[in-house]
């Protein structure tokens, strides 16, 4: 894993000291809120409905055990003993006190972490495939380039006042687990015909009020050219992007209004102008960074115990069926720890749970943890022979829910329980849906299903790319929930289609139940997933499930 060098360390410490002074001046009245707000946002501090909220970046979703323990310590010492993992691989604290935030940032700096550029119109935390460095289907670990992008974008003088926020995601595999096509820039590691590793560059994806699937700007950019090419894109956007209308300021609108050909030409022109200026230093740096992401020393051990445990314990077998993914090293597995116990808040982990996960990573996981955009925690490198012990420890910590990728593995934004921008609550809806499916005992039969809930049009809960998406709105002073169907956040990214009129908070859970139980009778056979059935049949039969009385009225 990457460890801060002297430059990183000094930069982050200096920033903490600056922010400490700014907080002092705000508290003593020398700074007004209007003056202070942009300063606190630069350091990830929001003011929400009930309290401040501190958003801490987890760069490309990677943590070591010491960092996870420090996140737990911060939760205990300055918050309410838990943290909320988000859809952009960050962690949010919901209850910090203003005067404590500089100490929290100092504690983060102690373990090589920060909250810089987790807000504002800047380049945000660079996210990555949460299976990076472990996935069997990966061409190359994308985290080295993500770290290079983090260093380049942090406090980049040209990009501190972009027209709007700017999000970059990278993946090293063709199977897209990083939602790259819904980012301002998505980078996909590919090989060209000569077998060289480079990047497919996708631009202009995004969700929010105008959801768009990103378009390929260039099929192949070599590793040596990537940083100047990305800088050229952001540079072109910085000048061309609209600043007159916040809702038309993202690069997806710039691309839409100017056309991809124009953008491509401008980017090429800018790229040719700045490329020489990089002088190869970025490649020297990248080579250094790559050594930090060398694979761990995988071991060879017998896996008989694992196989025997699977036969002996049905609960363990069920967990291994849903929560493991194929690893590139023989005898290893990727473990997804569900932070989605039925009825719990999606993405919330207590400080005790964080410490258990840190211990497991240290003892059985080559010292690595990941946060997924689906709000779960990953142990990327676990030998199969250690899985029974890992499972037993997770059970004790209430972390052994076997529901990864199933109906109750729901993405939900904080919604109006916390967020000042929200128009309705998300968390209680997620809790009720998960509890209902647990009671019905059908989610394993239903199979892969992604339900995603956002509490406002900004779509932090990725509802547009949920197989079933739920959007909470304020309809004449009452919470109302609209359903979209057929969305997909993978390499075949699709924006979901609006199903029809919304449902009240009381009616939304029964509506989702009708959809899912109805799908069971619509599918061609048990191997056909919800999304495949939707694609085969279209929206009509699902509308009939959602609005049965209207159907009867039409027939009458």
């Amino acid at each position: 894993m990457y460890v801060y060098n002297d430059f990183d360390e000094t930069f982050v410490r200096t920033r903490v000291a600056q922010f400490r002074g700014q907080v002092e001046r705000r508290i003593d009245g020398s700074l007004t809120e209007d003056e202070f707000k942009p300063l606190r946002l630069m350091n990830g501090l929001y003011l929400q409905l009930h309290a401040y909220m501190l958003r801490v970046a987890v760069p490309y979703g990677t943590l070591n055990p010491a960092q996870m323990r420090q996140l737990a310590m911060i939760a205990d010492r300055w918050d309410k003993g838990y943290g909320h993992f988000t859809t952009r691989q960050n962690i949010q604290y919901n209850w910090p006190k203003l005067g404590d935030v500089p100490d929290m940032l100092e504690a983060l700096a102690d373990v090589g972490m920060h909250a810089i550029q987790t807000s504002g119109n800047t380049i945000r935390n660079v996210t990555a495939d949460h299976f990076a460095g472990a996935a069997a289907d990966e061409i190359e670990d994308p985290r080295a380039i993500a770290e290079l992008l983090r260093q380049w974008s942090t406090d980049h003088p040209e990009f501190q006042f972009l027209p709007r926020k700017f999000k970059i995601a990278v993946t090293g595999a063709a199977a897209d687990r990083a939602v790259t096509r819904a980012h301002d820039i998505g980078l996909v590691v590919v090989r060209n015909d000569a077998g060289e590793v480079g990047y497919q560059v996708i631009v202009g994806g995004g969700l929010g009020r105008t959801p768009m699937v990103g378009k390929v700007l260039r099929d192949f950019v070599s590793k040596a050219d990537l940083l100047p090419y990305v800088e050229a894109i952001v540079s072109v956007y910085n000048l061309l992007g609209r600043r007159d209308n916040k809702y038309k300021a993202r690069i997806k609108i710039t691309l839409h209004e100017n056309g991809i050909e124009t953008i491509r030409d401008l980017v090429e022109e800018r790229f040719n102008a700045i490329r020489a200026g990089f002088g190869g230093y970025d490649q020297t740096l990248l080579a250094e960074i790559e050594t930090s992401f060398a694979p761990p020393a995988f071991v060879t051990k017998a896996t008989d115990g694992y196989k025997a445990a699977r036969l002996a314990n049905p609960a363990f077998r069920s967990w291994t069926d849903t929560n493991l993914s194929p690893h590139k090293a023989a005898g290893y597995a990727i473990v997804s720890i569900s932070i989605k116990k039925h009825g719990a808040t999606p993405g919330d982990a207590t400080s005790d749970q964080m410490r258990v996960m840190a211990d497991l990573a240290e003892t059985y996981g080559h010292g690595e943890l990941r946060i997924s955009h689906e709000q779960n925690v990953i142990l990327p490198h676990v030998h199969q022979s250690d899985l029974p012990a890992v499972y037993a420890a997770l059970r004790k910590a209430d972390l052994a829910t076997a529901n990864i990728g199933l109906a109750s593995d729901i993405i939900a934004c904080p919604g109006m329980d916390y967020c000042a921008l929200a128009t309705a609550r998300s968390i209680p809806i997620a809790q009720q849906i998960a509890t209902r499916f647990d009671a019905l005992k059908i989610e394993h039969d239903v199979g892969p299903l992604k339900i995603k809930i956002s509490g406002c049009i900004n779509a932090c809960g990725h509802h547009h790319v949920g197989h079933i998406g739920i959007l909470g709105i304020d309809r004449a002073g009452v919470e109302n929930y609209q359903i979209t169907l057929g969305g997909d956040g993978s390499e075949t990214t699709t924006i979901g289609e609006r199903a029809g009129p919304g449902f009240s908070a009381d009616d939304i859970v029964p509506a989702i139940e009708r959809l899912v139980t109805g799908y069971l009778s619509l599918r061609a056979d048990p191997s056909e997933t919800f999304l495949q059935t939707y694609r085969r049949l279209g929206i009509a039969p699902f509308k009939t499930l959602l609005y049965p009385s209207e159907d009867k009225a039409d027939a009458a």
């Binding site: 508290i27 007004t32 009930h50 309290a51 006190k97």
Partner: protein
């Protein structure tokens, strides 16, 4: 005839802990909406908001929120403002457990 003015309260977040607070008639910031000054005159509402905003070292983000008179004082009209008087629904955190109700 001008549209009828919906009664308002001045609300904000306390500077140090971010807690939702309401401006009282005697110029305190109360954690209880029921203690807020219910303002029924538009010009007075604008004036009270200006006065609130000038108290930058005590609060942040002051605004006028719709309210109505209940049995125990001003009550929220919109569900967002109702949540601000209680706290989140997923945990017993915030005002619902931490602020003693007025007796």
């Amino acid at each position: 005839m001008p549209a009828r003015f919906t009664p308002k309260v001045v609300t904000a977040n306390a500077l140090l802990d971010g807690d939702a607070v309401w401006l009282t008639e005697d110029d305190r910031w109360s954690p209880l909406m029921s203690e807020a000054e219910l303002i029924t005159d538009e010009a007075h509402a604008d004036l009270r908001l200006l006065q609130a905003k000038s108290r930058a070292s005590e609060i942040a983000g002051a605004y006028l929120a719709d309210a109505r008179l209940g049995d125990d004082g001003p009550e929220p009209v919109h569900f967002r403002e109702a949540f601000r008087t209680r706290g989140p629904s997923n945990y017993a955190h915030g005002k619902q457990t931490e602020v003693p109700s007025r007796t």
